[in-house]
Amino acid sequence: MRQHSSTPPRSATAVRSRGIRQTMSDLHIWTGLLVGWLLYAIFLTGSVSYFREEISRWAQPEAAHAGKAAPSPDRPAIAQRLVDAMQTRHAPEAGRWTITLPSARDPLASVSWQKPVKAGERARRAQQRATLDPQTGDRIELRDTRGGDFFYRFHYNLHYLPVIWGRWIVGFCTMFMLVAIISGIITHKKIFADFFTFRWGKGQRSWLDAHNGLSVLGLPFHLMITYTGLVTLMLMFMPWGAERAFPTPAQQNALRAELSSFREPSPPSAEKAPLTGVADLVRQAQARWGEAHVERLTIDNPGHANATIVIRRGDGERVSESPRHLVFDGVSGQLLDSRDAVGHAAETRGVLLALHTGRFADDWIRWFYLILGLAGTAMIGSGLVLWTVKRRAKLPDPTRPHFGFRLVERLNIATVAGLPVAMAAFLWGTRLLPLDLAARAAREVDLFFLVWALMAAHACLRAPRRAWIEQWALASLLLALTPVLDALTSDRGLPGSLLDGDWVFAGFDLVMLVLAALTASFAWRTARHQARVPAARGRKNNPKGGNSPGESGALRSVKAAGENHPAREASIVPAGEARS
């Protein structure tokens, strides 16, 4: 445009920039709407997954007593005890043992084992798992539950779908999330001027400010988590570079070895030989990485002459997930190989993965992750609600909205309020389903989806504002009663775990109470706006809009203020946002 010398350059820029803002605004609105509901679910379940271990522990209160005994700091002795227990009691015939040592977040050891592989046969992944007491090596019988793992897996695999489909769908949504973030940044022209701005009680303006505030304050996190989310599955989404660069199976194995500590199991040798002691090997690893960072032992072909022991460093306090491990000869105990570094590309990927999973985090950073994740969830939720708030004012007849509007409105309720209800129901399921139920863990997940489907049906059958209030109230009720449930279904409740200083259980119950208060405030605000209607009708010139999560206030004030309201609503929307 600049080559037209007759046009003053300033106005040309203005015209062009309004054009690009409008285009980006449309892109932001429609990509956001297309994937918003799934993204909301991905963000919410992903956020709580930062406390996956803690959720799992809460779901298995029978193991709580093990948390009381402070785990002995003598990790080499624990490792040896667990290996002895595997050898003599749990899996003497197995071809591979994987032993995860207890940690600060999980005081129990988890082990798995698989059958020996035969020569020329592909390794079967069928594994048996057990939880062991690190002090005795005894097996601890725990209920069959998915616990926090369900939310974690759901956030990138979804459910009831082949895993590969789920990942493609999640990847598609994530890509559009990135599009929505970048188009949103371009649309929102006053990022710095409006950095701390929130205009309360101004209807659509308030919703926009809330959406902007949540987006801008968490922007570094939102960009990071979305981009790194794509990177976690990049070899699935875009395999061609790696396939082309590393065409042979041997090269592909080398690539995999750069990316993870996983090694294909090999067949056992015919010759038998006793396994070396592992305590000393663990001490060598501790000397290298620090006392607490030895995470896992993988022992192949124990009792055979070709036994190997791989000791893997955990991800704690290291912002990279590139592999760090030591490989020992399982008979002589000699160090065969050590991986202390990988190439720059693999290290970059390791850092990006670590930023996403946050496994390096201390308690503070884990809470930062959770809060920012929830802020991202709220950003998506407010964006979805904003779509309806904005359009309701322009409906030809607000009492009879068109089908598309009603669809979005119902889906918003079923997702934004319905998912928290279903997640709370899942937690209740972990405690309440009979312990001897067949396929109990799968039934927990069925319960989650059943409740979610009920919320969707409820959202379709009830008037929208009633549905918002009722679902938030139900979520709040379930969350508020969770500590009661905890007390009734374990041998101690919140007071007991507080007295024991068990902050996993006490903290879980307290967080449930905080979330109950939050969801109750959503229900209350939605309900209160309804009650305010007569007042709004009286003050025709100063209509109070809604800023409730249920946005019914906006609807009511539109109705109350009559015909001229849409114009006034439009006038407070900045140029970049107005859709004339």
Binding site: A193, F195, F196, T197, F198, W200, G213, L217, G218, P220, F221, E317, R318, V319, S320, V351, L355, F360, D362, W364, I365, F368, Y369, I371, L372, A375
Partner: protein, 98 residues
């Protein structure tokens, strides 16, 4: 430095930094102080605000190393910005109710 202490100090520095940055903006000067500040005072606040955020960064890297330090700082910064945002919101609500 103890990790808890380094997070706490980093968070406090960032909150103070963002408070100064907010107060360097005319809108929040009117809201919080009731009047506009002189241009020099605003500039001083803006510079010291950025200075405090930088100090938080240096502290985090000193205490935790580059990787953990950068991540800690990014988290502290986001939390602090959110706290100041909510703080201004509460302040504004209280003022308008009176």
């Amino acid at each position: 430095m103890n990790p808890h202490l380094s997070h706490l100090v980093g968070l406090l520095l960032s909150v103070a930094g963002f408070v100064l940055l907010a107060l360097s903006m005319p809108r929040h000067q009117e809201d919080v102080l009731g009047h506009l500040l002189a241009a020099r005072a605003s500039l001083l606040m803006r510079c010291s605000g950025w200075g405090l955020l930088t100090a938080a960064l240096i502290l985090a890297i000193q205490a935790r190393g580059t990787g953990m330090g950068l991540v800690s700082w990014a988290g502290q910064l986001s939390m602090a910005a959110g706290l100041v945002f909510v703080g201004l919101l509460i302040h504004h609500r209280r003022k308008t109710r009176r």
